[in-house]
């Protein structure tokens, strides 16, 4: 691919991502937001890193999940760290909520895209502040929206249809987790860059909790797998 750098002093522009994380799925439930992502970092088609934390709490009220280029995600975490630090230093009893952080991220992503140097991520930002739940998404071209359930990457095609059917207001924590696991299981079966090490985290008015990673049970005993080529003309 031709390089985009114009001169020696010009910084390189991102052309393609190197180490990427796959989908993040999130939904609003009764007490807050539930978010799930696997812990894999793919290097192209190699599942190279298997313990990457893609869900991070931001400040007191928000949770950020990222898919896409991991190094850009780390850079975004540094920006947000500085943002929260300056917010804390006011020490005035106020703190940035999820809507504010989402807006900040949208500005950053959109402005980088306009300079042809995007942060190659799709971000999910969820949180609760003063009883108000908020769940939003922003991706590398600056598209952003908020909804009751969001997903990135392949999750948009595989998980969101499930969520559209089965999500309802006031899910309990257990129902929410079950729904997320259902989505992550489909992604595990169908997404080639998925890794069977899932992390779920929740954020409520009290704060963020990251649960320990676990594996999903998968079933490969389907009869169609026993004789996969039956009915496929010309296969062996």
């Amino acid at each position: 691919m031709a390089s985009n750098s114009d001169s020696v002093s010009d910084t390189q522009r991102s052309l393609y991502p190197y180490v990427t994380g796959t989908s993040v799925v999130a939904l609003k439930y009764k007490n807050g937001i539930l978010m799930a992502a696997d812990m894999g970092g793919s290097y192209g088609s190699t599942l190279r890193y298997k313990s990457i934390d893609r869900l991070k709490p931001i400040g007191k009220h928000s949770l950020l999940g990222a898919s896409g280029e991991i190094s850009d995600f780390q850079e975004i975490l540094r920006y947000l760290d500085e943002l929260i630090l300056y917010d804390n230093m006011w020490d005035d009893g106020n703190s940035l909520g999820p809507k504010e952080v989402h807006n900040y991220l949208t500005r950053v992503m959109y402005n980088r895209r306009n300079k042809f140097n995007p942060l190659w991520n799709a971000l999910v930002l969820g949180g609760v502040k003063n009883g108000q739940k908020y769940l939003g998404m922003v991706n590398m071209i600056g598209i952003n929206f908020e909804d009751n359930h969001v997903a990135t990457g392949l999750g948009n095609h595989l998980a969101r249809p499930i969520l559209r059917d089965e999500w309802h207001e006031n899910l309990t924590f257990e129902e929410g987790v079950k729904l997320l696991e259902k989505c992550m299981r489909v992604l595990l079966y169908r997404d080639r860059s998925a890794v069977n090490k899932i992390q779920i985290s929740k954020i409520t008015e009290e704060g963020a909790t990251l649960f320990s990673p676990f594996s999903l049970k998968t079933c490969w005993e389907f009869s169609a797998f026993k004789n996969p080529t039956v009915g496929a003309e010309g296969s062996w």
Partner: protein, 278 residues
């Protein structure tokens, strides 16, 4: 008490025949005229307290903050000219964030104090300096850059900072307290006071057994001292502002929690009444 400068005190770049720089001493006088600021180092952290003299009854309580957080783990209390103080705090915040982004760890308090002192000192050296030059001088403080000026003109574009700061922080080496004066000297203390009531405050601080005290107790003691040195006759109203950074606050610099502050104020007022009753 104060010797008249007569001609040697017009510029910060002039020594007097007996080796003093009068402008810096005058700057220190500006600090001495402000409300008392105290810092103490307890066994588990630092407590900073400020006697905020209220200029007008119409001011909202809690406004005009004199203690500022400069990073998660450290804070700074300012005495003297408030606008000068704002400048120093802004610079300190910038130094702290810069160190963090370069070295990946919160700036050690010792390093931060050195940078603040260096900055304050720098602004006592030249009578004319642009900000870009300040940065280049600042970070190459190992070599001495001689700046040639036309000294025939007495135009004052620069004056020393008219404020002193007490900087307290908690890093890997434990809690530390530093004080930076307008001359640019910075020393480490276990108890420091600047402003109007500093002599009386220092005497009181020396009486305290700081090595045995926790910050919770320290907050009460600082409140008592500030209420004690406040001069009812000369200055009418004041507001007490206190902050701490200690194990209890998770090593974060923050305002003392409201209920503890109220407890401290009540204890201080009670102690005053006891003294008056004698």
């Amino acid at each position: 008490m104060s010797s008249i400068g007569t001609g040697y005190d017009l510029s910060v770049t002039t020594f007097s025949p007996d080796g003093r720089v009068f402008q810096i001493e005058y700057a220190a006088k500006a600090v001495d005229n402000s409300g008392t600021v105290i810092g103490i180092k307890c066994k588990d952290g630092i407590v900073l307290g400020v006697e905020k003299l209220i200029a007008s009854k119409m001011m909202l309580p809690g406004s005009n903050r004199r203690i500022h957080s400069v990073h998660r783990h450290s804070g700074m209390a300012v005495a003297g000219l408030a606008a000068d103080g704002r400048q120093i705090v802004a610079r300190t915040k910038s130094e702290a964030t810069n160190y963090d982004s370069v070295y990946g760890e919160p700036i050690p308090v010792k390093e931060l104090a050195e940078r603040v002192a260096s900055y304050v000192h720098l602004c006592t050296l030249y009578w004319w300096l642009r900000f870009s030059e300040i940065d280049s001088h600042y970070h190459f403080k190992l070599y001495f850059f001689v700046f040639f000026t036309s000294i025939t003109y007495c135009w004052q574009f620069h004056r020393p900072f008219g404020c002193g700061v007490i900087l307290g922080g908690y890093d890997r080496d434990g809690p530390q307290l530093y004080m930076v004066e307008p001359s640019g000297v910075s020393y480490r203390y276990f108890g420091a006071a600047i402003g109007k009531g500093r002599q009386a405050a220092k005497t009181e601080i020396e009486k305290l057994k700081l090595t045995d005290m926790t910050c919770r107790q320290g907050v009460i003691e600082v409140a008592k001292i500030i209420y004690g040195v406040h001069d009812e006759a000369k200055d009418k109203d004041f507001e007490l502002e206190m902050s701490w950074v200690c194990d209890e606050s998770n090593r974060q610099h923050q305002k003392v929690p409201d209920e503890l502050l109220e407890e401290a104020k009540a204890a201080a007022k009670a102690a005053l009444e006891e003294m008056d009753a004698d």
